[in-house]
């Protein structure tokens, strides 16, 4: 599991780095072309937007992995031990629930409206829309890993499991 986590994280991290690098280079190049060479491409703006969307949705996954998402940690700072673990698991479940609803609804949404062509590059929007459910599924994967780690690392909860095992 840890190996899988490390490998997946590496792939997504490098995708983010690559996408953000590309985005920056494209913006700077388009500025250069417009001001120095007086050239501008209508499709360039769209391509840059797609790259931007990709950085947002893949960055979201890494953000969940690294616990970088903006939140008020007031309560979890106050708690410790079992309370903290239980809270962490509950928050994880909320996140998983939200993501699963989005995946379910977005499949319906893409099915209904995904065939509209993008105005600049003229490719069906669904190929870009698919980034959203993909990133949601990846978030769910990381949340499951996180919940698993919380349980493994929590002595109290392990004790409960052990007691259940003993009574059986």
């Amino acid at each position: 599991m840890d190996k899988f986590d490390a490998c997946l994280t590496k792939i997504i991290s490098w995708s983010c780095i690559f996408l953000m690098g590309l985005l920056t280079i494209f913006v700077i190049t388009s500025v250069f072309l417009r001001y120095v060479c007086s050239i501008s491409f209508v499709w360039a703006e769209e391509l840059i937007t797609f790259l931007f969307l990709a950085t947002t949705y893949f960055g979201l996954v890494i953000g969940v992995r690294d616990n970088e998402h903006i939140c008020i940690a007031f309560l979890s700072e106050k708690l410790n031990g079992k309370g903290k673990t239980v809270l962490g698991i509950l928050i994880g479940i909320v996140i998983i629930f939200v993501q699963i609803i989005i995946v379910k609804e977005s499949i319906h949404w893409i099915d209904q409206v995904g065939n509209v062509l993008s105005p600049g590059l003229r490719i069906p929007n669904k190929y870009i829309y698919y980034m959203m459910p993909t990133s949601c599924i990846l978030v769910v994967v990381y949340e499951i890993i996180k919940i698993k780690n919380l349980i493994v690392n929590s002595k109290e909860i392990q004790k409960i499991f052990m007691e259940i095992g003993r009574s059986n």
Binding site: R34, S38, S40, F41, V42, E45, W109, Q112, V113, V116, L117, P119, G120
Partner: protein, 324 residues
């Protein structure tokens, strides 16, 4: 007197109708208060609610509260809202783009004759494959003209090489390229600054937009070329419309047509007034028929491109419109 004789049957009537909840029609658009679209939609609400005796309730969501035009069209397709007036023609039916072909119409009257007649209905029919019925088609803002800072445009040579700000509408970009201009894509809200500082030399828009966005303050010339006009279709969710009783369908249909007439009249009036205001700020030249002819000749490849290469609509449709 609170209980006059006439009121008794009315209240009785109301209770029977109220047992069935009023049908709610949610409609949206992106325009702000004071615009023809905003005001004519208010009239639509009044007409539908009055004519249906309150059986249909219209809720308007203006100013892009529910999203931009593309997103509201999606919402209308999905049935979250029931209607929207917006551009984005190829999201609904590419056939609608035929209205935007350069110099297809000589004046507003011939445009309205097509949108309100049999050909208009035929074009509207194409939207049904996307679960949309177009109840009526109006004029989105009048004919589009070109302003710029370099020279008055009288012939295609004058337009050559000018950096013209264009919206992301394929037929505008293609037409500008064909005329020899250099289209520059800049967001609508940033157009004023880009014209002021020369990021773009000029732009193209109907007079109302030029006046309301104050482009006339940062431009020297306006050429009344009237090269293109945009339709203003009222997209309604087809499934929802079919679920209405025949009686209700007819009254919504009629109210939509009345709304479009009101809107078209306001648009035409607003354009005349805007042109007067613009004239005070910049040099206006109106293209003569001979001058326009050169552009018309040059525009032929645009038709070819959309008919043959893209297959958005047929040559027969264009011939039919021209024969009107």
């Amino acid at each position: 007197g609170c209980a006059s004789k006439e009121e008794i049957p009315e209240t009785a009537n109301e209770t029977t109708e109220k047992s069935a909840q009023p049908i709610v029609m949610k409609v949206g658009h992106t325009h702000s208060a004071g615009t023809p679209r905003y005001q004519s939609f208010e009239k639509f609400k009044e007409m539908v609610e009055e004519r249906s005796n309150g059986a249909i309730k219209v809720e308007i969501y203006p100013s892009g509260q529910l999203g931009n035009e593309q997103e509201m069209i999606e919402q209308a397709k999905l049935g979250t809202i029931q209607g929207v007036r917006a551009g984005r023609f190829d999201d609904v039916a590419t056939e609608l783009l035929v209205y935007t072909m350069p110099f297809l119409f000589d004046d507003v009257e011939s445009f309205q004759k097509v949108t309100r007649g049999e050909i208009g209905k035929k074009i509207a029919k194409a939207a049904e494959k996307n679960n949309i019925i177009i109840l009526s088609t109006g004029d989105a803002g009048g004919f589009r003209n070109i302003t710029n800072n370099v020279r008055p445009i009288k012939s295609p040579e004058d337009l050559k090489g000018l950096k013209i700000r264009t919206p992301g509408v394929e037929s505008i970009i293609k037409t500008m390229e064909t005329f020899g201009a250099n289209p520059v894509s800049i967001p609508y809200v940033e157009t004023y600054m880009s014209l002021k500082t020369g990021v773009a030399d000029g732009q193209e828009n109907p007079c109302v937009n030029i006046e309301s966005m104050k482009f006339d303050e940062v431009q020297k010339y306006m050429s009344v070329i009237e090269y293109q006009v945009h339709p203003d279709p009222f997209y309604v969710n087809l499934e929802w419309f079919n679920s209405l009783s025949k009686e209700n369908q007819d009254l919504v249909q009629k109210a939509a047509e009345d709304m479009t007439s009101i809107s078209d009249e306001m648009t035409t009036k607003a354009n005349v007034e805007a042109l007067e205001k613009i004239k005070a700020n910049l040099e206006v030249n109106v293209l003569t028929d001979e001058e326009k002819e050169k552009f018309k000749e040059l525009a032929k490849p645009v038709y070819d491109y959309f008919v043959n290469e893209k297959g958005y609509f047929t040559q027969e449709l264009i011939d039919e419109i021209k024969a009107q």
